[in-house]
Symmetry: C2
């Protein structure tokens, strides 16, 4: 079951606030999905993410298929039950991981051969098999197998990747159960003609939602936003829209104003692990020597459990000493930052003040 | 302020249950102290340890003096405040770390020269300086600088280490403020004559409690217990007794019955990090292949948050995938195991059933 209802629309932009009903619960959008690639948001239990305000996680069919294997998760009652989350999960197909992590074999219209990045063993993903894996995982949203392409991409290669993604989209739907939970993925690199063709082809299929793939791969943000501006009018308004791999707080504010509902990104946790903290006015790196005797919190305007309790000097000490608690506390702060941003975005759309909120936050974020 | 009151004594052994009043709170004994060497029990915030039932932590003057430095902790209001614990902390002097981690220079009756294990910088610890560091850290119990010796030790070297420990004990007390919080340390390796002499010399000083150092270094447990049996009658009954670095659950049961009140050990967290879980009937290693599709909890008789929620298969998956959540969850389980053991020990002493409890637990622990 995937049911999207728009509750409020911004009058000055394309921003919308909605409820996404899924098998394991309701997600209020716009929503940020923390990344739990290997069935855990790094360093966190599922309960901790729920306590921070997480509504939905992203996991990965490729990773879970290789380890621990689909069968044990199916026997445990699905991924939500296996990892103790019991709330909505979106699984990426692993198409991106197949291309970025593995020794690749043949890619045909049938599917893709690859070698495991863990032990070099040989496997084959077809669009049908990827649907079946996600069905076994019993996740709430299944992404189709697509053929991503890097940035920058040559036009002919971008055509082939886009056309194959359409062929695989059709095969995925044909293999899916009647009550499927599939999202289609629009490719086409940074070419307007290809993006538009892909959008027309993919939105012609009965997917439950639509994703823009192949963005946030290092292209300039203005280019990302222009592509979204070009594609957005082609997306059915009543269905949910997801930009895969986005993004920085600034990106999210810009994309919400362009009509995007779902986001996922490793930034809050990956940056947390390297000592980078998102604060109201931008970003700081807690490893810097200037914080060694700084007894104020990361962000004095923040009311997260880390800022309420710990000094920059203590957090820096944990990082410099190689204590896991450092990355953990910064990840808590950063996730709190993202979840607060999304809550404020939703609230401002409901109250009709989103555009003012967006302007104000973008200005604040420029300061550091 | 260090004030120890015995509340109950076991009639069949030397076990006692007491209250230890310290500056930051009261500790019910016998107590297990989790190890927070660098101002964190590895992977945990202070609140999490308190929620698990931790009453007191052990930290380390040597480590904190080198990093982040005593001054920033003093300015933060002391170690308890710096790390957000606000409960009792015992600091080890770092004598053991000076010997085990550093490039050693001269050791004289004045003190010990050493090189930092972090950056090779040269430092000197005197008994007086170590008191002053712990005073700045404002911890609840200060351990004197002692001169540990490994196992096995030659008799002449054991004599020198024991005699110097006595000299340093006197200097520590002379340098300490009137309301000091110092524990003395009894050395003497595994030699009955030296242990007895050290016990007589150290207990003649006005320390607030007495520790047995230089045990649990690889000697057979029977030898450890025999030394405790020999020394115990020489310890003033009204003062608290601490065996440094003990131990396994079996060791704790044996030592409590021999009149010991305080324990500290890295086992629950270090074992947790390697995949070893303490269970009612002994120990298992969750990395073993047999657990890859085992959907029952670590220990079906355990009511810790990990056993109430997660399967062995999920925990194994986290370890095999290199996810920090694995070590964290096993450490939670193991700390819960230790804190439960101590609570049951205290309860059984109060109820006059300790010896029966000890027998039963020792038998159960032999099973795996």
């Amino acid at each position: 079951m995937i049911d999207f209802t728009i509750r409020a629309k911004d009058k000055d932009s394309k921003a919308r606030q909605g409820d996404l009903k899924l098998v394991h619960g309701i997600v209020e959008t716009p929503a940020f999905m923390a990344v739990a690639t290997q069935a855990t948001v790094k360093t966190f239990s599922a309960d901790e993410i729920a306590d921070m305000g997480g509504q939905i996680l992203v996991s990965n069919a490729y990773h879970l298929y290789l380890r621990p294997g689909t069968e044990v998760i199916r026997r445990a009652g699905g991924l939500a039950s296996f990892m103790g989350w019991n709330r909505p999960i979106l699984t990426d197909s692993g198409g991106f991981q197949v291309y970025s992590l593995t020794g690749l074999g043949k890619v045909t219209d049938e599917g893709v051969e690859f070698q495991s990045h863990i032990d070099g063993s040989r496997h084959c993903f077809t669009p049908e098999k990827v649907v079946s894996i996600q069905n076994d995982l019993d996740t709430d949203i299944w992404m189709v197998l697509d053929q991503p392409i890097g940035y920058p991409a040559e036009h002919p290669a971008a055509v082939r990747s886009m056309e194959r993604t359409t062929i695989w989209a059709q095969k995925s739907l044909e293999a899916a159960p009647r009550n499927h939970r599939l999202f289609g993925i629009i490719q086409g690199a940074t070419y307007q003609d290809l993006r538009e063709r892909s959008a027309r082809e993919i939105t012609a299929f009965p997917f439950k939602g639509f994703a823009l793939g192949g963005l946030c791969l290092g292209e300039p943000p203005e280019l990302t936003f222009r592509i979204i501006d070009q594609i957005e009018p082609l997306l059915p308004e009543v269905k949910i829209r997801y930009v895969m791999g986005a993004g920085y707080p600034e990106d999210i504010l810009e994309m919400v104003s362009r009509g995007i509902d779902l986001f996922d990104c490793v930034l809050p946790t990956r940056n947390g692990r390297t000592g980078a903290a998102f604060i109201r006015t931008g970003r700081i790196n807690i490893r810097n020597a200037q914080y060694s005797d700084d007894l104020v919190p990361l962000d004095e305007t923040c009311n997260c459990p880390v800022c309420r309790k710990y000094s920059r000097a203590f957090l820096r000490h944990l990082f410099i000493s190689g204590e896991v608690l450092g990355p953990r506390l910064l990840s808590i702060h950063n996730l709190h930052f993202y979840y607060t941003l999304m809550r404020e975005i939703r609230q401002s759309i409901k109250e009709g003040t989103f555009s003012r909120y967006r302007e104000k936050r973008l200005k604040e974020l420029e300061r550091n």
